[in-house]
Amino acid sequence: MKIPDNLLYTKEHEWVLINGKKAKMGITDFAQEHLGDVTYVEPPDDNKAVKQFEMVTTIESVKAASDVYAPLSGKVTQFNSSLEASPELINKSPYEDGWIALIELSDESEKKNLMNKSQYEEYVTKLSTRE
């Protein structure tokens, strides 16, 4: 399972790449593996305001419909529209082509509530052994 070291992670298995006031987000390799084949990603409303750890959109897979939570508070400025025709990008490339949304951040200090690579790795290992 891939966990890039330049990203931050949530307990609900979202990743975020922060670049100043802007951030790109998606779901992790662990999450896509557990969801199975993704069949639909709901485009969030334009300029939707989101709070950290609150729902930003929903992903449907052959197994379930799951909420996706915002890793940081702010405003959704863009949805990855290639997911509309090709939701499988989330399975094939969760960290790159399968990104979900761009967020304009309102409070960068919320970063402190997220995990780095090694923390997330430890968290996922713990979950896997519990299973």
């Binding site: 557990h34 069949t39 052959v62 379930a64």
Partner: protein, 481 residues
């Protein structure tokens, strides 16, 4: 097998209609009428008979095979209830007759059935009053949450949230959200029930209701249930009982006695109506004394002279939630079923449902992972996580069962168990059927180690092989033309 459209031959007819012997008259304005003939299949009567007979033989149902679909209670429904629901005295009634004042005297039998099924269901669930109007489980849920909302509005309570455990049926949070509440999800603790510490932390004065399925979707009875209810009531949050799993509890525990304020029942699960074919269900809702005033109208009432009538007198009612008075035939079947089984019979039904589930569980838990090691109720959840080490997932085991003429258990639900297989055998199956199921499940576990390809390629002896579920969901195309 060809589609009926593909069997069409231009000019072929099933019947020859006589020439019309009345003058043609345009009743519908020409701008609304069809210019070209409808593209219907042109086939003979025998083509039609064979087509649909052969299709029906490919159908899978409780009447043909074992159907342990967890959380759905696919039990056998005795045919005598169908016979009663087919009595012309019931089927030939016009549903509006009961609304026409004196004409209600012509439908006293039907009104009496509605009156008594309410009484019986209220007694079984320990609730004060019922409505039998809701047409299905999810409709009952929405009715229940609307009753709770009406109660809070009436009392001037400011409420925003509904608490739902993470093992719940998806309809619970969906219902609460449709009714305008925000959802608070509570994780499952080590004992397979809602984690009490987390529940206490999330409870507060803005919580409108706590929605629980009991026993829950892991097939576990929540032994903290009284405390859960007491804590909720401290904040005037009402307790909602999802009756999907009532089949485990008949005559053993009444939701009303442990503190629930609203109950919805799925008559098409517990009380003898076939289910799962998209046919009509019924989702009656029972309430505690707090909510009686808000129940939907009309209500069946018994007059002092012993006659029955529909009453609209309920000023605080949430109003009408369905046309007429619910799915009458389904209510009638439930009435017949309860009257035939009686108190002892219903208790025995639940006991056998629980016994059958525990029997299967005991025979499978050495080969499948059991996420919560507890005595189960009427269903249990195992995980294919051990088989996953050989590349075999729950879906592969499910498809293999189809090859062995067994309907797969529910898979990938509840969401909190990885590679979940949720098995509900029901009380209507014999030991021989259960033994065969166990044998096939053990065969699948062995094949996962010895010859996983067989599982991955299943099913092989069905009309179609493994369907591409992802593609079917991504490229929706439901139309023939």
């Amino acid at each position: 097998m060809k589609l009926i459209f593909e069997k069409s031959v231009a000019g072929r007819r099933g019947v020859t209609l006589p020439r019309p012997d009345v003058p043609k008259r345009a009743i519908i304005d020409g701008k609304y009428t069809r210019k070209d003939a409808a593209p219907l299949p042109e086939v003979s009567e025998l083509d039609v008979v064979r087509h649909f007979t052969n299709l029906s033989r490919r159908n899978f149902s409780v009447d043909t095979n074992f159907y342990p679909l967890g959380s759905c209670t696919m039990k056998y429904n005795p045919k005598f209830t169908e016979a009663i629901a087919g009595f012309p005295g019931f089927t030939e009634l016009h549903p509006l007759t009961s609304h026409l004042g004196q004409a209600a005297m012509l439908v006293q039998g039907a009104l009496e059935v509605l009156y008594y099924i309410e009484q019986l269901l209220a007694e079984i669930t320990g609730m004060k009053e019922m409505t039998t109007e809701p047409l299905a489980g999810a409709h009952g849920e929405l009715t229940g949450i609307m009753l709770i909302a009406a109660y809070h509005r009436d009392k001037g309570n400011k409420k925003r949230f509904v608490i739902v455990p993470d093992s719940s049926h998806g309809t619970n949070p969906a219902t609460a959200a449709i009714a305008g509440y925000e959802i608070i999800s509570v994780p499952t603790g080590k004992n397979g029930c809602m984690d009490m510490e987390s529940y206490k932390a999330k409870l507060g004065k803005e919580v409108a209701a706590v929605m629980l399925t009991c026993p829950n979707t892991l097939g576990i009875f929540n032994t903290d249930i009284k405390e859960v209810a007491e804590l909720a009531h401290r904040y005037d949050a009402l307790m909602y009982y999802d009756g999907a799993n009532l089949n485990a509890m008949l005559g053993k525990c009444r939701p009303g006695d442990v503190g629930f304020d609203v109950v919805h029942l799925n008559l098409h699960k517990t009380f003898s109506t076939p289910h799962g074919g998209g046919g009509p269900g019924a989702g009656p809702v029972g309430v505690s004394g707090k909510l009686v005033d808000y129940l939907p109208v009309p209500k069946v009432v018994r007059n002092d002279n012993g006659t029955y009538a529909l009453s609209e007198k309920k000023p605080k009612s949430i109003g009408r939630i369905a046309p007429f008075y619910g799915n009458f035939a389904v209510l009638l079947k439930a009435y017949a079923y309860i009257m035939l089984l009686g108190r002892e019979g219903l208790i025995t039904a639940s006991e056998r449902a629980v016994l059958n589930a525990n029997y299967c569980l005991a025979k499978l838990k050495d080969v499948y992972e059991l996420p919560f090691e507890r005595t189960c109720m009427h269903e249990f959840v195992i995980s294919a996580s051990r088989q996953l080490k050989h590349g075999i997932r729950a879906i592969d085991i499910a498809k293999f069962l189809i090859d062995r003429d067994i309907h797969p258990p529910t898979v990938y639900f509840p969401l909190i168990v990885k590679e979940a297989l949720m098995v509900e055998p029901t009380e209507t199956e014999t030991k021989e059927t259960l033994d065969r199921f166990v044998e096939v499940m053990r065969e699948a576990a062995k094949l996962a180690e010895d010859d996983p390809e067989i599982l991955k390629n299943a099913p092989t002896n069905m009309p179609v092989s493994r369907l591409d579920e992802a593609r079917a969901a991504r490229e929706l195309n439901c139309s023939h033309i």
